[in-house]
Amino acid sequence: MRSCAAICAMLAVVAAASFLIQDSYILGVMTVTTFLAIWGQSWNLLSGLSGNVSLGHSVFIAMPAYVTVVLFQTWHVPVLAGALLGIAAAVALAAFIGAATLRLSGPYFALATLSASAVMLSLILHFSDITGGPNGIPIAFTEADWTNLEFDHTRSYLLVGLGLLCVVTIFVAGFRRSRLGFYVAVIKSSEAVARAAGIRIALVKVVIYCMSAALTAAGAVVYVFYLRFLDPGFLAGLTLSVEIALFAVVGGTGFLAGPILGAAFYELIDVVANARFGDVGGWDVMVLGFSVVVIVMTEPRGLCELALRLVRAGGAPARMRSVQREAK
């Protein structure tokens, strides 16, 4: 709970600091980081806590984004109502995928979720009358109106994103200490033990899948209006699914701040690589990918653990504690 409060305070500081920044590129980077962090945090609720690596979280980004925008542009459904419908659609999809992948674990679960994401992409490409196919759909800006999630300043999206990230973080923190959070921890330890303790495994798994999808979707419906473009390659692409998993792991799935730190790390590489190498792309994914390799091979608990060690190494008594902990 203390770490949750610390994170929210930090996000509030970021929000306040954003008023000092006028550069729209920096604000844009901060906004992207915030939404990536929302998705990483939501992903962690499912995969970090349950131990099953999902490689299909972009379906919960594409589904609500398309539903909201298509309803708005084609049927003139108010954006907020459409967003709720979009989130509901993502939850329904999660219930279906969750139920279908119940018995799968490890590589099977990863492959099944990855393929769910690929199915979504191919359906979007196929039904181009509705979805715009590979060209996507641009979202025309009409007027600044918060009920349509249309703001005339990037900072507004950043602030909404930070608020949402706070909510998601508080939710995840509360979830870990909740009844359901306990059950998930037992299931992660051993399904046989969970069954022997009377836990309804199927129900718990489907419910956390739906929760994770709902939080992911909430971020997606806001983000798509910031993006002003339904881009199938980005929103429904396999790359986004995989990146979410990877930067959350780089940050550290065992920590509340892990996915946020991971998202910031990933965006930072992107910014540095853009500034340093300009048009030669690939640096960001290369560093991200190989960081995961390094982290898996050396420090499976991510950047958060490294940061903690640095902090602890500051004082001798603290060092004693960390040594003791390692010894155990």
């Binding site: 009844r179 921890a185 022997a196 836990i199 495994i201």
Partner: protein, 245 residues
């Protein structure tokens, strides 16, 4: 005679060509501590897996508290009061010691506060009060096994299957567990104890079930059963009694 808590009739289970359980009949009264022993491969593990619903019997019936258990899931059985511990310690590594125990109460529908209070009581009884807030990663095997026992007790069980709970416990821990079992048995909880440690079985059990080659070959008071000719043969071979002991 009161209605039995657990009744197995004609239970068979084969895996391919291997017949693990052959026509097992077993009746357990609603108040007792029953020991279950037998040589390796006698079918004890299969029996536990049948009772907890990991396997379905090929034929025969399992009646628990008057209810036929066919098609009842392991989790449902646990909520009905038929619970087990595992041979290997099964800590919940992401939760603290007391939280792992609370789970049993949460499943029963207790609030977190009530579950915590009840878990405290169980931990105190098992001598784990000091370890309540620690991570199970930092606890030795004996303590972990006691935590497993406490979690199972939180489910308010009617029948507890203890699968080698007591091997790996220190002397002091063993005494605590034995006393706890005695006390709970007096409150009406039934224990089916699978254990290698004969003196433990003899001290606890009011009756002893012996299995060999997938069948129950003896069931009765311990001191009588260990002198049963078939039991001695099962353990020591057919001509062991030819020599004086």
């Amino acid at each position: 005679m009161p209605e039995p808590l657990l009744a197995l009739r004609g239970v068979c289970k084969s895996f391919g060509a291997v017949r693990s359980l052959v026509d097992v009949d077993l009746v357990i009264a609603p108040s007792s501590v029953v020991g279950l022993i037998g040589p390796n491969g006698a079918g004890k593990s299969t029996l536990i897996n049948i009772l907890t619903g990991v396997y379905q019997p090929d034929s025969g019936s399992v009646i628990f508290g008057g209810k036929d258990l066919v098609g009842v899931s392991t989790a449902q059985r646990a909520r009905l009061g038929l619970v087990r511990t595992f041979q290997r310690p099964s800590p919940i590594v992401d939760l603290s010691a007391i939280e792992g125990v609370m789970v049993g109460g949460l499943v029963r529908g207790l609030s977190r506060t009530d579950a915590r209070a009840e878990a405290q009581a169980h931990l105190a009884r098992l001598g784990l009060r000091a370890e309540a807030e620690r991570s199970p990663r930092t606890l030795p095997t004996g303590r972990l096994k006691l935590l497993d026992f406490a979690r199972v007790l939180m489910l308010r069980p009617k029948l507890v299957l203890l699968d080698e709970l007591m091997s790996g416990l220190s002397g002091g821990e063993l005494e605590i567990v034995l006393d706890t079992i005695d006390a709970l048995a007096a409150e009406g909880i039934v224990f089916l104890v699978v254990e290698h440690l004969m003196e433990v079985i003899q001290r606890l059990s009011r009756s002893l079930v012996v299995m060999d080659a997938g069948s129950v070959i003896a069931h009765g008071p311990p001191e009588q059963v260990v002198r049963d000719r078939r039991v001695v043969e099962a353990y020591l071979g057919s001509d062991a009694l030819a020599t004086p002991c």
